[in-house]
Symmetry: D2
Subunit: 345 residues, 4 copies
Amino acid sequence: MISVGIVGATGYTGVELLRLLSAHEGVDVKVVTSNSEKGKTVTDVFPSLRSTIDLIFVEHESEQLNSCDLIFFATPHAIAMNYVPKLLEHDCKIIDLSADFRIKDVGIWEKWYQVKHVCPELLQTAVYGLPELNRAEIKRASLIANPGCYPTAITLALLPALKQGLINPQDIIADAKSGVSGAGRKAALASQFSEVAESFKAYSASGHRHLPEIIQSLNLVQQNNETNLSFIPHLVPMNRGMFATIYVKPTDQNTVLQKHYVDFYADEPFVDVMPERAHPDTRSVKGSNTCRIAIHPGESESQPTVILSVIDNLVKGAAGQAIQNMNLMFGLDEGTALSASGLIP
Amino acid sequence: MISVGIVGATGYTGVELLRLLSAHEGVDVKVVTSNSEKGKTVTDVFPSLRSTIDLIFVEHESEQLNSCDLIFFATPHAIAMNYVPKLLEHDCKIIDLSADFRIKDVGIWEKWYQVKHVCPELLQTAVYGLPELNRAEIKRASLIANPGCYPTAITLALLPALKQGLINPQDIIADAKSGVSGAGRKAALASQFSEVAESFKAYSASGHRHLPEIIQSLNLVQQNNETNLSFIPHLVPMNRGMFATIYVKPTDQNTVLQKHYVDFYADEPFVDVMPERAHPDTRSVKGSNTCRIAIHPGESESQPTVILSVIDNLVKGAAGQAIQNMNLMFGLDEGTALSASGLIP
Amino acid sequence: MISVGIVGATGYTGVELLRLLSAHEGVDVKVVTSNSEKGKTVTDVFPSLRSTIDLIFVEHESEQLNSCDLIFFATPHAIAMNYVPKLLEHDCKIIDLSADFRIKDVGIWEKWYQVKHVCPELLQTAVYGLPELNRAEIKRASLIANPGCYPTAITLALLPALKQGLINPQDIIADAKSGVSGAGRKAALASQFSEVAESFKAYSASGHRHLPEIIQSLNLVQQNNETNLSFIPHLVPMNRGMFATIYVKPTDQNTVLQKHYVDFYADEPFVDVMPERAHPDTRSVKGSNTCRIAIHPGESESQPTVILSVIDNLVKGAAGQAIQNMNLMFGLDEGTALSASGLIP
Amino acid sequence: MISVGIVGATGYTGVELLRLLSAHEGVDVKVVTSNSEKGKTVTDVFPSLRSTIDLIFVEHESEQLNSCDLIFFATPHAIAMNYVPKLLEHDCKIIDLSADFRIKDVGIWEKWYQVKHVCPELLQTAVYGLPELNRAEIKRASLIANPGCYPTAITLALLPALKQGLINPQDIIADAKSGVSGAGRKAALASQFSEVAESFKAYSASGHRHLPEIIQSLNLVQQNNETNLSFIPHLVPMNRGMFATIYVKPTDQNTVLQKHYVDFYADEPFVDVMPERAHPDTRSVKGSNTCRIAIHPGESESQPTVILSVIDNLVKGAAGQAIQNMNLMFGLDEGTALSASGLIP
């Protein structure tokens, strides 16, 4: 039985971890922290977990965390880095769902997140927790940097093509769309229901923090680190779901990407390559850990190939992937507690 | 291993049965039927089930059904009654999620459903599948009439009070609200997205088909069959969820309903009596088989007590309750495959 | 040309006033205030008004307000009362869309709003701005207390019956539902998109601030001040719209309420009595100043009659009604700038 | 006073025409047709127009149309072409909101719409009704082909750049998103609320009927007819609104597109070029005839410039633009009845 702590368990990734872990027979959630809600029970804050979870929020600083086998950080960025070094000394394993350990180059991280990193030495130790990219390292890791939602959807859609040199890495456009839960659970005018419902918009069009993370992964799988990606995120009036429409230029017009993708992901439990020219919708993965990908070859030589990729931003894009990483780190079946199908409708 | 058939598996209760049963280790779904989609695979119609279900729709008349241990009917009303008598002869057990066997009085049924019943003799054999009311009979039944969604939410909210004579049965108002999936999965102008989104309305205010079903259950638990209920359904622009706001008049102002409800439902796995004056929301039971109830006593003697009741109309209001009944009929743990918490957000 | 100021113009009622007044040929909006956004242009905050409004927010304390003919307060409660006395001395007319002057009894007001009133003497001078109730007084008023949204929808639905003694005033239930814009435009966790979308709930079930306001109006039109009303508000996942389902007991079962309502409202420009047993939806009044009412007589003598009432909470429930009052106060055609039909879909 | 007929007035563009024309003082709507609803009043079908429109639907074949000055066709494609030739003989002017007269090349039209055109000779006479492109011809036209919604949003976003040769016409990507009302008002499974809400998807990724229409306009404004455009439409769970994210490659990295766009559209009443790097949202034009455009230059030389364009698909993308064309054809002020601001929220 793995004893687990969750730091910052009052956000959407936190409650999703609690929901998924409550069905995981190999896990015992022992500690949940929240500096804003400490003293309340989990079910005061989340009645959906009544009769499932019987815990009281303690503060992030609680020493109870020291004795956990594994600690998930479901906090905003720039929090985990303050706690992780000490917890590692207590032999806790760590999966950080925030951005603190995702970028290897501390200068790039500090530029995008506008704060000084307090333990840059851990950036090299940390393993980027995308199992389809780093499964072997994840199994041996003590500190996992769990990928962002946009990076997960976009990287999985490009991995087979870039790794095998099938597309031009210097001309990629990723037009991505996210449900509102991606903005987190906090009081903010911009994500009020009446600011978002019955509307659609792009945001951070001049640069989103997930861009360097995507670039880092895409560069990693090529010879020459030469990714040139244009990435525009948009906000969709729905709770969950992420959709990426990716425009790429095949290096050889005769290559059938479909076949390469099917082969590449043949043994992956959580990547579904749909039939060529399929139209995945985000609801097909709602509440599920699956990423679905569909390829639409260009109608003519001059047209880009379009790759469509969908995930649930809170599952494969956050809590589900974190549990997938936990399963790998502790030698469990990778899919434990992650087999749910999408909730339709 | 129970071999299961599902008739009419292309609707929302059908796909919900498939989703829930795919996680049930004691069940093997063998046959799925659809007269409109026969020949297609389940995953052609529901990509959310890719890699989970590998079946092809056959027609309702398929003889493959005869060898199933249990058959769910997830069809509109007036279909199951044409197939059930013959299937019972083949020793299949039946759980009908439609209205065909819910009303004991064939005259009332025919008045509300405007069609002649083809096997009225089965109305007496059929057991109304509300476990909190009929658990013992359900265990012995061959034919279950699975309750409607409104009847489930409203009956569970009133059962303890009526059974113990704590409220006036002749002055009850049930103002109920349903998500749009309750209208079924079919092409209809009235449930088009742009007819429903960003709007709210009452419907069938002069009489809804679930009314006689509710009355029948509420009469059953009293001495004098004297329920007088006003029931107005409304349509909420959301997929799932049902909410009932029920106004009752306690017979004795000093009675604390809260205590009676907590005691009455103490051992029920799927009824959650929240603290007095709580505000349940439908999302707390999204995808879950739980009914949550909260009681708001009137501020003064002349004020009604208000009982709030929420369910997921597709789970406790349909497919989940059907599986709960199946578990009872086959001697399994009643909660098998039904332990999921609500999906937040 | 009426010169107008708007205090607190960054909320939803503020921007709705700006939208509607920009089409009013007899009005010149001169001053808009916002303590949080002062210095910004209106179109920085509301791009929807680009090329329509060319003003900069100043602070509430601005002396520019003194020279306005009319000032709308679109602020939360307990703000207007601090400015109104001085502005009245400058001969400004005032329409307060907040609750500060709605309740005649200062004790009741202070109990519900939990703050000391700073100018209780104005409570008697203020005219409650429901034209269908107080048209003559509104024309002569200097200070209008613009009604709340729930009180507007519910009072209009009950006025003809109570005024003429057609129903029992001691047994009324108002089950009301509101879109989320009713919660105002401010950062609050409870009205985040992902806290509200795909869910439905009751709130303030043990007492909402609009209750004493409704009671005050309903008592006013009867002989004996004996209203006994149960009022439960609910939150609907949509931006705009308010729906009230009202259960009443006719004093004489032979009375046809329909006829009385049609006659009572025959000359009202903004109340539409629909055919008996119609089902109004909120979208039919989206962006419009109309209140639609439909009556459903009980099926039997023991059943209550149900009255359905819909408004747009931001128009007839706030900004539109305020402009209707302004038109009356300044001798304009009552419907000026208020003739828009509902936006479908 | 222009006497107007509307053929097919029961769809969303039909009811939007009725809503907008009811506020147009120079227009008298005399005839509305619907083959499915003939005999009903307009307000039976659209209660939002109660007290505004007092007409009864007649059939499309009605001779009453012959005496109208102007007839709008708000029908699906392949209907208008059967009536237009005869109506032109009666000296009616025609604005067809469907696709029947949009494509000059009958072969291309027949390929995409899969039906034989019955009056191809009119394709040359018809004027494509995008005022920003064809204002002079529109003023003189008898037959207007009113543009599609996607073509309006995308063409307006590209016109200044392509006309002046500022971008590479052979490398354009238009990732476009539409609200569900674009699918029309008809019973269809794919646009049921519960098939669309809480989901997002691309559709027609291998070719959408609006593609040849866009190409035709974009070719028209260049020297060499060499547009190469990749166009992927997506469905957003909202009623109204269209968003295009367009990726272009400037021919000269030093060109400031912003300045060219501001100048190009300086006198256009319905195109709003926002400040550089602004983020338009669709709600800012809800119910309004405005197209808002914002330009995001690439961060580096190798990055595309991104142009964002928003319209209300039912207004500037359909009924509003049709009225703008009518105003031009009849010598009225171009903006008559089209001055409304966006409805927020």
